[in-house]
């Protein structure tokens, strides 16, 4: 089906925007913030040029952006937006409301470190605080995956067994601004794949009035939250079906965990998003030197693919978890999930926690190699270790 596709050089942000153009959603409400700004700017251009007949709401803050999205979604529209860093933090109050309303919003989250200090570069400190907001979180490695994930996210969010909003995350600048070849489906193929939204209980059905956002005390609150959990529990099953369907057209299928030479590996690095590319290269080099290294890239952080992880991780000689955000005073988010999942294994697998790349600090092949070598030397610490800190005498980083 080659005539169904086109391949061009583009960036993660522009790939996201192109998917939006093809989806032609009902409403986009967004507010500019680096590095996600290009997404609404590009979309506003599509609206101005008549390439979509969506409505773009140029709101006065991120808080109003997500609120307008909730309103438009509950009204019955297909709704998309994008943001980063402090913009995401300003929206925080509304995220659990969106998910409790079962509003299937698709959100381009371009990861950037949270201030202070102010920094525009990538880490995951903006999206990780939202892991308990009841949203699906998908983390992408490259622009192609961003494009494919937007299409998948629309179907996933709107599926009647899921009805949960989705963050499609990509690394700020690294993925959002770097150009690479991306293959796009034809407009027709995208429209056939995403179809039309069939809203459940839309607010605009004035003949069947419903109330959203009611005052709900101890008698019912818990049940409503339990119901949301059930929607989240259905995500991986539904995702499996949808991703197979898209793969027929694209030839690309993404698992909840991207497993790279991991099945027969002795040592694993578990990581997320763009930095996995570096680890995969190092895995290849180490394999050439006879070391059975592997990489797991966690693509779905919510819901966390616990069973898949345990299956692959069982029997490994060592695992290093590399977090691109910290939970100051506690275990970093990814390490926390991994350790929790591995607790049920009968045979203990040692796990070393690392924090890397905060505020866009570079992550080099030598760093990944050192992580593997440290595991090979059975050198584990119960303390977190740091990769790439300027202070080489940092005791915590070295012990």
């Amino acid at each position: 089906m080659l005539n169904n596709k086109s391949k061009i050089m583009t960036s993660g942000n522009l790939a996201f925007a192109e998917a939006m153009r093809q989806i032609n959603p009902d409403v986009v409400a967004a507010y500019p913030i680096t590095p996600s700004t290009e997404i609404p700017v590009k979309f506003a251009e599509f609206v101005a040029d008549g390439k979509v007949d969506s409505e773009y709401i140029a709101v006065e803050s991120e808080h109003s952006a997500i609120t307008a999205c909730v309103g438009a979604s509950v009204a019955g529209g297909r709704v998309m937006t994008a943001s980063s860093a402090n913009g995401v933090a300003l929206m925080h109050e509304i995220f659990p409301i969106a998910s409790a309303f079962r509003a299937p919003i698709v959100f381009g989250l371009v990861n950037r470190s949270l201030g202070a200090p102010v920094n525009i570069h990538c880490d995951h400190s903006d999206s990780m605080p939202e892991r308990d907001s009841g949203w699906i979180q998908i983390y992408c490695e490259d622009a192609q995956e961003v494009y494919d994930s937007v299409l998948l996210a629309v179907r996933l969010a709107e599926h009647k067994d899921v009805l949960t909003p989705v963050f499609v995350c990509q690394d700020g600048f690294i993925t959002s601004h770097c150009y690479e070849p991306v293959e796009f489906l034809s407009d027709e193929a995208v429209r056939n794949f995403v179809g039309e939204r069939t809203p459940q209980l839309p607010l605009l059905d004035v003949d069947n009035p419903v109330s959203y956002g009611s005052f709900t005390m101890s008698e019912y609150y818990f049940e409503i939250k339990r119901n949301q959990m059930e929607g989240m529990n259905n995500v991986l099953r539904v995702y499996g079906e949808i991703s197979k369907e898209l793969a027929v057209q694209t030839g690309r299928e993404y698992q909840p965990i991207d497993s790279y030479r991991a099945e027969d590996a002795d040592y694993l690095i578990i990581i997320m998003s763009s930095a996995a590319g570096v680890v995969k290269d190092v895995v290849d080099e180490m394999r050439e030197n006879g070391i059975k290294a592997g990489c797991l890239r966690i693509r779905f952080f919510r819901p966390f693919p616990r069973d898949e992880l345990v299956k692959i991780a069982a029997g490994k000689r060592g695992i290093a978890v590399l977090d691109r955000s910290a939970s100051i005073g506690g275990t970093a988010p990814l390490a926390s999930e991994v350790k929790s999942a591995l607790y049920d294994l009968t045979d203990h697998v040692p796990v070393q926690e690392y924090i890397f790349g905060l505020g866009g600090r570079d992550f080099y092949p030598a760093d990944a190699e050192k992580v593997f070598r440290t595991m090979i030397h059975s050198d584990y610490s119960s303390n977190v270790r740091y990769i790439g800190l300027l202070d080489k005498d940092d005791k915590n980083g070295q012990n």
């Binding site: 009902d26 006065e60 009204a75 509304i94 956002g213």
Partner: protein, 313 residues
């Protein structure tokens, strides 16, 4: 605009059911009922967090016979923007044929204070909706705290009248004028002194394309410390003392909707409310503060008259 027939209107089903949990004598449900009476098309309502929202949506019940959404405290303007925009797109795309009107209700906390930015954004963007502020001059849902709508000298729980301070020290913000400065097509200020006034203002607001704003002064018997049966009486005093001028700004043109026959002194409005009782305590009367309040009212009234006269002379 068609003539308002009150007798006919009373036959209309109230979009808010009986059995809601608002207090006896609260002005908010009166304002909601009168406002929604004015509209013949189907409506979708957004409520900011506040007494009205919590008291009408106690799950698994809802007092709303019309679609209703509450998101949070500070964002009724943004919420209604999203719904109204989705409606326009769905209509354009042939997915709905109805003519729906969009109304947002917010208290003064959700409108003057925490929701001001969201409201301002929605007004500036020109969505076709009507925002109705039910203004009881403070945070009643949390127990009578002061807001920027609370008048000077009022005894509120975060501006208490004590031995040293005599209630709120600052004047209230003039939100109606701030909204008018957005140059939207319709702005109005009224109270519950006369149902025809509120109904006709909301009717005009809803029939005007683009954003419209109505600021309705409504008593809270608990905060104002008045008898529930005195709701209309106190609202009439607010209008007759010119404490709360009743007027409209139609396409920038100021129109006085109600001119008191005789200007009653501000004492008449203050002395019937317990929230000002510290001003009238025997032996420590604060006639100086009452005189200042009167002077403020006279100044504001003159300013308003100048604006209306500029258009009428």
């Amino acid at each position: 605009m068609g003539k308002i027939n009150l007798k006919e209107l009373t036959k209309k089903q109230n979009p808010m059911t009986e059995g809601h949990r608002m207090c006896p004598g609260c002005g908010a449900p009166t304002a909601v009922r009168q406002a929604l009476m004015a509209i013949d098309d189907p409506v979708v309502v957004v409520g900011a967090t506040g007494c009205l929202e919590v008291s009408t949506t106690v799950y698994p019940y809802s007092a709303w016979r019309v679609p209703f959404m509450h998101v949070a405290f500070e964002n009724a303007g943004a919420g209604i923007s999203g719904i109204e925009t989705a409606y326009r797109v769905l209509k354009k795309r042939g997915k709905t044929e109805k003519n729906i009107k969009f109304i947002a209700f917010g208290g003064d906390g959700g409108t003057y204070d925490i929701g001001l930015q969201s409201l301002s954004g929605a007004l500036e963007r020109g969505h076709d909706f009507t925002y109705i502020c039910y203004n009881n001059q403070g945070y009643m849902n949390t127990g009578a705290q002061r807001s920027s709508a609370t008048p000077i000298n009022a005894n509120a729980t975060t501006s208490p009248a004590g031995a040293y301070m005599s209630g709120k020290l600052q004047r209230a913000k003039n939100l109606t004028e701030i909204v008018a400065a957005h140059n939207i097509p319709y702005v109005a200020q009224t109270t519950l002194h006369d149902p025809v006034d509120l109904i006709s203002k909301v009717k005009r607001a809803v029939e005007t394309p683009g954003p419209a704003f109505v600021n309705v002064l409504v008593p809270c018997p608990l905060f104002w410390k008045i008898k529930p049966c005195d709701q209309v009486k106190v609202c009439k005093l607010a209008a007759d003392t010119r404490f709360w001028p009743v007027y409209e700004v139609i396409e920038g043109k100021y129109v006085l909707s109600y001119k008191p026959l005789k200007n009653l002194p501000i004492e008449d409005f203050l002395s019937v409310q317990g929230r000002y009782s510290h001003l009238f305590r025997k032996g420590s009367e604060r006639m100086d503060l009452i005189a200042q309040a009167q002077a403020d009212i006279d100044t504001e009234w003159r300013k308003l008259l100048q604006k209306t006269e500029n258009y009428t002379c």
